[in-house]
Amino acid sequence: MVQKQSFYVGYVLAALCAGTAPLSCAHAQPAPAPRLATPSSDAHKGGTLRLAAQNSGGTLDPQVSYISLIKQLETPVYDGLLTFPKFAGVKSQPVIADLAETVPKPEDGGRTYRFTLRPNLHFSNGQVVNVEDVAASFRRLFKVGSPTAGPYYSHIVGADACLHDPAHCTLAGGIETDPATRTITFHLTEPDAEFLDRLAWFHAAILPANTPPYDTGNIAPPGTGPYRVTRYDPATGMVLERNPYFREWAHDAQPFGYADTIQITFGLDPEGEVTAIENGQYDWMYEDVPLDRLGEVGSCYPEQVQIYTLLLYYYAALNVRIPPFNSLKARQALNYAINRHAMAIYHGGAAVATPLCQLLPQGAPGYEPSCAYTKGASPAHPLPEWQAPDFEEARKMVRESGTAGQKVTIIAPLEGRYAAMAMELRSTLASLGYEASVRSMTQTVQFPYVQNSDNHVQLALTGWNADYPSASTFLQTLFACASFRPHSDNSPNMSAFCNPETDALMNKAAAAALTSPADSTKDWAEADRALMAQAPAVPLVQIKRVRLLSKRTRNAIVTLNDEILLSQLQVR
């Protein structure tokens, strides 16, 4: 025994001296290529699915929470009239009917949508779902001050009044219901090409009409999905149990859940979560696998790893209104010089991150691979993908812009991989001849700070994640004239970019979505290229999620919108 111990101590010391960790994986399994799981034939129902997350996500109110953890946990608890399909796939899919019988065709030039509610639906408290619950849920969106009430649902007739006076919101003229025929009719003030997507968004969950018109906090209102929340303590954890009133009405919209109970524990850090899953103490972790554990999980547990694309990318917003990036050549120079391969390395390498040099990420409608700023390319002659930085061209452009030697301050979040990315940007700017420095602040402070034009931010390092697959979320929200609101903390156009020509292109693409989706897709791709020619930002990398599941977990179904469907995980 003593001999074994001294051998181990010696081994550890030797490994430390060599600068490597004493890791081994005796039980390594044969490694398949990354894949998306499909439902297994030997489905197993029952058991408890054990999940781990570092922190709770705050309020459980599905119309208030904007936290991705809560969205993922409550996806099998709530339903909307429509939903994004719950089958495996990495491409964006059109919405499908959920509580509604069908997806309606727009009427009145896109100003009216008529839905029929499915019959015999029940909330988890036994109450029957009726059309008044639907209308009340949309009124409640405004009453509780849902974060997307204004951005997503302001086109409903009466929404303006609701935004001004939420307490007395009626949406009069905006939503009509007929209990006899179970129809719900939405009237919009103007056509909204993404209205159906927005009805499928998490905040449009249908709740009982008598749900209190305030944030329910730690209490989850009754829903219609296969699970209900039976316990929630933000300090310790949460439990989801089967909804006794659930019956499957559309498998692709809201499938039956496999596990009897879903148990979530809060408080473990990501390193601890990885170790706990490796030891079989938990089945799924919310946080990404930390960078220094990627090699270990890739070597020892390849069959338990799920890698999937997200509609999330990181970019540097360049303020086009103040020096030096008020010069197009300076903006283009940075786009040419940045080493996107290095940026991918900071996220774990090519398996986890892809260099990105356009503003629409892979998976978004309108995405056509194009890279204008790489060695051997130009905005007029883009290549399909990024090759290498072109310092020669970049330095030439900086000289021509006359901006060399100017001070540039990068405002970056303190957290996660931002610090390394910010230092890479600083090095690149310094090598171009700028006097660059990094100013870091916590993400919750940095995000509003960089949006406010009063702070005169020259370069903001940030990330953008779509609520649902949509080109406008990336292009119009981030670069349209209307998205720039001077002196406001809520101005997502951080580049302060406004170009009537690119605005017109984006409006054309959005309008075409109602009549000709194929044309709309082409128009979005053109808008993407036109925007990149103006270089209001430096796209850096699009990342993939790396999830580690326990050995006993099966049937991981990944969708672009809902990530891994927790209700479909089977545990033995």
Binding site: A21, P32, D292, G298, N339, G349, A420, M423, E424
Partner: protein, 333 residues
């Protein structure tokens, strides 16, 4: 005619002889000198030996090892191609201790980091001693209202935990910099951690100095000087201060050790030395994210801190033994 005995050596010379006889203290001094010298030569090492820029990210770069080109960020050997790890210790001049997560040479950054850590801790210790001596002598010598005000101020500062105090001051100054009238200190200036660390340790040094001055104030030679009408400033400068100097000298290394620990803690929390500059604290922070794959990045600066703090404490003990006459008398009896 008999030869006169040579005059006995002065107290300082006696103390230095005592110190020289203390092997442990001499070894500690040698370690300190060696580390300081290495750190001072950091630019020489980075430029001529390692041939690397320790302040520039280099994750996409490569180096030549034994005639082969080796990527600085090495792909992990796993079927999913997940993750990359910085190159480990090479045993060569370049990347002797490996690379950090930004592909920078850890050995070169260690030396540059040591420069900052030692500079900040030594300057903070000197500044702290100056402030503590001023406050302690004023409180002890003048007494009355001056003593009451200064002592209560020290009590208040003492009541706040050192690190909490330092963190609070650092967060404010690191984000905004410091503007005092016409003087502007940039947020990334080393002056900020120096002043903050010096300030938070003033009460710890001022207390013993005040106690010593209270005793000295009653001493016969001070009473005699005052009876002779010697001005107060002369008494303080020529009678009190020389007798407090030994206390200051003994406190010096101990304060420097404490300052080094405080600086490392602040830099580890990103509120001390600001990137891309390095200190041993920032390198430990860099190594935190590599603790499973490249533990050396965190271990090497940690060992350096331990070594320097230990050496300073041993040296401080040696100085106390050499300078404290009463203690020496007690030991000889």
């Amino acid at each position: 005619m008999t030869a006169e005995a040579p005059p006995p050596p002065g107290p300082w010379r006696q103390a230095m002889r005592g110190l020289a006889r203390n092997r442990a203290a001499m070894a500690a001094l040698a370690v300190l000198v060696l580390i300081t010298l290495s750190c001072v030569l950091a630019p020489l090492y980075a430029r001529d030996i390692a041939r690397t820029d320790p302040f520039t990210s280099n994750v996409a770069g490569s180096i030549m090892l034994d005639g082969h080109e080796v990527d600085i960020m090495q792909p992990n050997d796993n079927p999913l191609h997940l993750g990359l790890s910085p190159i480990g210790p090479t045993g060569h001049a370049a990347y002797l201790l490996g690379a950090d997560s930004q592909g920078r040479d850890v050995a070169a950054r260690m030396l540059y980091g040591g420069r900052n850590s030692l500079l900040i801790s030594s300057c903070a210790a000197v500044l702290c001693l100056f402030l503590a001596a001023t406050a302690g002598i004023a409180a002890g010598f003048f007494g009355g209202v001056v003593d009451a005000v200064l002592s209560r101020l020290m009590d208040i500062m003492w009541a706040v935990p050192v690190y909490l105090f330092a963190i609070s001051l650092s967060i404010v100054t690191v984000s905004q910099g410091l503007k005092l009238g016409p003087f502007v200190v940039e947020a990334d200036s080393l002056l900020i951690p120096i002043v903050i660390i010096a300030l938070v340790y003033v009460p710890y040094a001022a207390r013993p100095i005040r106690g010593r001055v209270l005793a000295l104030r009653q001493a016969e030679f001070v009473t005699a000087a005052r009876c002779l009408g010697v001005p107060r400033w002369r008494v303080v400068l020529f009678d009190i201060l020389p007798n407090v100097t030994t206390t200051l000298v003994v406190l010096g290394p101990l304060l420097m050790a404490l300052s080094l620990l405080a600086e490392s803690a602040l830099s580890f929390l990103s509120i001390g030395v600001q990137a891309p500059a390095a200190s041993w604290g920032t390198i430990i922070q860099d190594g935190e994210g590599l603790i499973y794959t490249r533990p050396m990045v965190a271990i090497a600066p940690g060992l350096a801190i331990v070594l320097v703090v230990l050496a300073l404490n041993i040296l401080g003990d040696g100085l106390r033994d050499a300078l404290d006459v009463r203690d020496a008398a007690r030991r000889s009896s």
